[in-house]
Symmetry: C2
């Protein structure tokens, strides 16, 4: 099944969940239901029910085993029931604790169960760290391959190739005879127009080859491997099921194609996809432990930690990674997960460091070291960068979503391979002549963050040498050239990223967004520096920027700009500042970063409150209930529930007086995924809730006469009489006797809060104790879409 | 009213909430109720109700104003209703947004309302930072006062006194003629036994004076100022009301007495109380903004941020502070609060730094810089330190709680002043002869964390000089003396802290716990160092610790030990590691810290799952529903609800057929804090819930005939008839038409989850749509106490 997501572009060959599977999505004149809780009936009660049946002596139902296969599982593209999953886990844990008092083996089992979470975290950290290291090394090698080849062995990258050479000096570390550019190899000389053209052509050739391989592999083996994966992971963590999205094929193909896509020179990064890779690792490793394999809620705790691991290895920022998971990705993040995420993030960071893919023992992606402090006056340009970042973020989201809509609705979506090849060719063609676009995004950012030392030979440090100090210097020829190139690079990056993000290759947004911001920041920084140099006597510079002092650090501006743009696109706040703090390691620069990030978020929010990930979630119609946004409207539960006033009455099962035939007819004649059970049609007093899926499984399994009159279970209560005939065991087990209810007068803001906090899928609505209707997560999302004047039918899945 | 908390020791003069105020805590043969939601009825509905009454045209109820004074407020020692408070705020916000479209003034009001949160955070940060700076400076001065006096001005502390002197060299910075010890001043010489005895006596005199002043001020003006305050703040943040606990008197007295208590040399720290001080600042500043003054839930968001600010200024660790608030203190911590806490924590940290109380421009309390990396083999001693920390933590909690119980139950509690004086005298008497106990806790930790440089003249660095390098050296005479003194100091600190924490003076636990761990760690560190020095050839040292290498850093062991002990006592995990990380600034040392903290937590948890703060909450019987612990038992809602089977039936109001007289009789004859409203006594179908307090206020306010038959409100529903006579407005407004319900079969683990996540105070229990009973937060806490074999009546408040 292909990914119905944005990066598929079109729905060619897509098995839409509702195409042939009416149970999955039912929406005819009534409530659209998910499959709901069955195991909420606690063991105590189940035991009691089991003991009541006439088939034999009381039988303990073991929560460690599934009594009926399929019961209590979910279909693809459906939402899980958090309450039931957590309750299931608690039952399991209770059972293990109870058993552990009985034998030593059981005690050991209980201990190993308690530590399995930590072991799993360790494995996730090790595997993700190792994979990230591998990806770094491979991408580095393939990126260099576009330029040339190492004569002493093609498997060396440029840097390693020259390490082995003795002829290089420290100054010219990256030039050595062993490394030959393609032009040199073909024409025999590294000079001249012909060599340049050959290099250019080879650059385009490799870019096309890599991107073709990437898109073909993705299409052939793992359509889910495309894109950054963060929107889908957010949706999955909120409780949605997308089978195969975190599977082994996705992992393998995403790892390989990520390397290819990054090396092809397309304007994309590997940071977002690394989160997907880490989540795949976690999901696969979950299969080793029953506790996590069988419980969707527990598995999502591990996935939350894996998201932290992904950012930890992407930026070498474990604390920032944990906060990223907490702030941006996770839905349910208990404190236990916080602690475990932190552990896994550290393990991954140290694994990556011991692999040492950058060859410098550095944990972080961009190591930054500034010498001069910043001055309060500089807050003005930092806020300016924040405004730029916010505007760019808002513009980028609008443009990218518009482009993705075009891809979805026009024939463009039918040619994903052609699209990738055209964009790759365009990128290579335009990028090669400009050295700042030719280098990889990470290299570019690294260079822009860099503070110019005295010996620095790069173009960006092409100042006129006036004295032998690090003080502010006038810009020289080299720097002016660099500024022009940077300005062109800025425009190019801004345009190309819009059409690149969303193509059918793995593509992250962090690096391209940061690159745009870093370029803008560096330009402003150099501008400020020159302004200060030539106008020491201006009021704003007086007192802190005297002649011969080192007052403005353009690298800091680049960093602030990068944070602002990334903040504008993703709307990250704390985690972004902490990631940047971990890059510099000093609290000094937090205030500029914070000022820019805050401004950026406010400016961008003024144009639309959604970040790029939420926008893509909405574009794809995933059933995601945003935990950050407040529900502002003043409607009541009765306004949102189904059936509406004009609809036919709610289809219910009654506790008494219904035959098996009637039940079967009801199930067959309707498409609802679940049915409330009431005392009688007249009273409409609610007893419980039963799922269509479980009902069908039970009928199929048992082939026995169903006597619905014995749905009623608990004879301890004085108001009810104990059943007289032996009740059918299975149907008792599947009825949820504790369905969630709200009254019809409950304001929707409270109802939405309940859905979010408890992770519900549906909730019954009552009035004066009588069943009135039902609200599902999808009803809420549709209602919210309606309020926001969007198409309520854009919510696709359950 | 005095604090009924642990640091009061006894309940002398205590106004117990249930002494004269039966509404507050009622527990007679039925449910114990809090005051519940009234404003949950949304404006739409209220407008409708208002429009229905015959007194005039439809009147809009403005949620920005309280219609009836007292309605919707809480009494002291009661629990707030989070759902209602948040709903109130959303109504308010909705109203402002609606109005902002009408005029420019309203628009400006809306904008200023949106930014008031940020302004408040800025003010909290500035005020807390300034106060923390003041406390640091004053405590430093008073601590030095115990030793001697500055001749050129008594207001200089030792360091400042000698700064003004020109005669000091860098080496002997802390010796100058201007600074005279008391012995020197009195006897004329700094040498000799007489001078020593005079110093000793003066030391004890000042200690007694300071501690006497501290305890007297606390008793006379602000009994809530004692203790660390963190248990109470945790309880308040979970939704409890303790009036005056965060008031201006508490702030003033706590600030003053904190300085006195710290200076008196008692074994206590200022870090915990700083959290209380920051929360007081936040609470007082909340009064400037209607949004926060009038809403208990919004105010708690600010208090959560203030807790982060407290730790930020205590350790100079803003990120650690935010995580501390998230992990340890807060109950409701939305993402918005995360972001604002971070901002406030940063502002506070920078305010403190610009005050520069330590005179070194350092943000952090202990600046640490290590040179040598650690080796994997060293994880074994680090884990050992973790075990020590865990054992000490568990032991400390047990001993301290036992001691507090003795204080509570015996006559000891009646003499808090004497107790403080005796402990202060004992501390001074025993501490003075040993230089490591004589210095303040923070100084001691700083010295223990310190890595010995070559020129270091302190006793702890009394190694034999064998070469001119930083390599491992054999221990010399000085070091051996230091080790003995440290061992004695360890025993002394362990004993004295147990009886100090809980006295009627402000007292924090962070520094004493860390001191114990740092001493143990340094001892182990020096031991390891000497072992490695003399046994380079042992298998475990081979390969990484050759002769002449600097392989073991005793300061790192001290730091790991400090983290382990603090972790054992408080059970902090991530936040502790991050605070320590912010002290060193390097990711390098996170792994040792993590290993020790994890071990410490596991070991301590094996002896009891509660940290010291939870233990004190339980000791004081606060109604605190621990969010971290899972509810393990398999009971059902029906087992916990009131009335029990043997109790008389639940007192309910009926929708029809009740006269005002009957209502008044019911209210007067029972003591319940609220009454469910049902359709009729026969059907017991639930309509809503009304609070005793609101009922009484409404009856008193209106002096009109109450026609309870018109409780029924919504004529839109087909099943009910519209009321015919004009209904009384007030009673409509006070009935909560959307009370929370669960069915009798709902497992308690799910019910507890609902209470925690939604912040409920009570929940009605139904069976087949009929009202069966009620569960309050207190019922749950009592049930949990019963399961844990504790006295259920230890839960004191509502």
């Amino acid at each position: 099944m292909e990914n119905p997501g944005y990066c598929s572009g079109s729905f060619d060959g897509l098995h839409h969940p509702s195409d042939d599977d009416d149970d999955d999505m039912v929406d005819i004149a009534g409530a659209t239901l998910d499959f709901s809780s069955t195991d909420d009936v606690p063991p105590l009660n189940r035991d009691f029910a089991a003991g009541m049946n006439g088939n034999g002596p009381a039988k303990l139902v073991d929560p460690l085993e599934d009594p009926v296969p399929g019961l209590g599982t979910y279909e693809d593209f459906n939402t899980i029931d958090w309450v039931r999953e957590k309750s299931k886990d608690r039952d399991r844990h209770r059972e293990i604790t109870k058993k552990s008092r009985q034998s030593t083996v059981a005690l050991l089992h209980s201990v190993s169960d308690a530590f399995s979470g930590w072991l799993l975290m360790l494995l996730v950290g090790l595997m993700s760290g190792a994979l990230a290291g591998g990806i770094d090394i491979a991408a580095h090698w393939l990126t260099d391959m576009k330029d040339g080849v190492c004569l002493i062995g093609f498997w060396f990258n440029h840097e390693h190739c020259c390490w082995t050479s003795n002829e290089t000096t420290f100054q010219e570390r990256d030039r050595c005879p062993q490394w030959q550019s393609w032009g040199e190899l073909i024409t025999g000389t590294s000079e001249g127009a012909f060599a340049y053209i050959m290099n250019y052509l080879m650059y385009i050739f490799w870019a096309l080859l890599f991107s073709f391989l990437a898109v073909t592999l993705v299409r052939a083996f793992a359509p889910y491997a495309c894109g950054s994966g963060i929107p889908e992971i957010k949706t999955i963590l909120s409780g949605f099921i997308i089978r195969g999205y975190l599977g082994k094929w996705t992992l393998i193909i995403k790892t390989i194609t990520l390397v290819l896509a990054v090396s092809s020179g397309l304007s994309l990064g590997k940071e977002g996809p690394l989160v997907h890779v880490a989540c795949c690792c976690a999901n696969i490793l979950c299969h080793l432990f029953t506790k996590y394999r069988k419980n969707e809620a527990k598995r999502r705790e591990v996935l939350s930690a894996a998201a932290a691991v992904g950012v930890s290895v992407a930026f070498g920022a474990p604390i920032g990674g944990v906060l990223f998971s907490l702030e941006e990705v996770s839905y349910y993040f208990p404190l236990k997960t916080l602690w475990r995420s932190f552990f896994a993030a550290l393990v991954a960071a140290f694994t990556l460091r011991s692999i040492n893919p950058f060859g410098n023992s550095r944990l972080v992606l961009f190591y930054v070291e500034f010498h001069a402090p910043w001055h309060l006056v500089e807050l003005a340009p930092f806020v300016l960068l924040g405004i730029f970042g916010g505007l760019w973020g808002a513009l980028f989201i609008k443009a990218n979503i518009a482009w993705c809509r075009i891809r979805k609705s026009t024939r463009l979506g039918h040619y994903p391979v052609t699209e990738v090849l055209v964009v790759a060719a365009l990128t290579a063609l335009l990028a090669y002549p400009n050295s700042y676009t030719r280098m990889s995004g990470a290299e570019l950012i690294s260079e822009l963050f860099n503070d110019c030392s005295l010996l620095d030979s790069s173009q960006l440090c092409g100042y006129k040498q006036v004295s032998n100090s690090l003080a502010d210097r006038p810009a020289g020829e080299g720097l002016y050239t660099a500024l022009w190139q940077l300005a062109l690079a800025l425009i190019f990056k801004m345009m190309i990223t819009v059409i690149t993000f969303g193509m059918k290759v793995p593509s992250g947004l962090f690096i391209p967004s940061m690159a745009v911001g870093a370029i803008a920041g560096r330009l402003l920084g150099v501008g400020m520096e020159q302004l200060a140099y030539y106008n020491h006597d201006w009021l704003i510079f007086k007192g802190w920027c005297s002649p011969g002092a080192d007052c403005i650090t353009p690298g800091l501006y680049a960093m602030v700009g990068a944070a602002a743009c990334l903040g504008g696109v993703t709307r990250m706040t704390v985690s972004l500042v902490v990631i940047m703090f971990e890059l510099t390691g000093g609290l000094e620069y937090i205030v500029p970063l914070m000022a820019a990030t805050m401004t950026s978020k406010w400016v961008a929010d003024a144009f639309g409150r959604e970040g790029i990930y939420e926008a893509h979630i909405r574009l794809n119609g995933y059933p995601f209930l945003e935990p950050k946004e407040e529900f502002e409207h003043s409607s009541l539960a009765v306004d949102v529930m189904r059936p509406r006033r004009s609809d036919p009455a709610l289809a219910v099962l009654t506790q008494e007086g219904m035959t098996v035939g009637e039940v079967e007819t009801l199930v067959e004649s309707t498409h609802y995924s679940g049915f409330p059970v009431v005392v009688s049609q007249e009273s409409q007093r609610l007893v419980g809730f039963v799922l269509r899926r479980d009902l069908l499984i039970s009928i199929g399994q048992n082939h026995i006469l169903i006597c619905v009159s014995h749905f009623n279970v608990n004879p301890q209560l004085p108001s009810d009489n104990a059943p007289e005939a032996p009740p059918p065991l299975r149907l008792r087990g599947i009825m949820d006797l504790s369905p969630f209810t709200v009254t019809d007068h409950t304001p929707m803001d409270i109802t939405v809060d309940i859905f979010r906090k408890l992770g519900l899928r549906q909730c019954l609505v009552t009035h004066n104790g009588r069943l009135l209707g039902i609200i599902t997560k999808k009803d809420i999302l549709k209602h919210m879409a309606q309020i926001a004047n969007r198409d309520p039918d854009s919510i696709l899945f359950n």
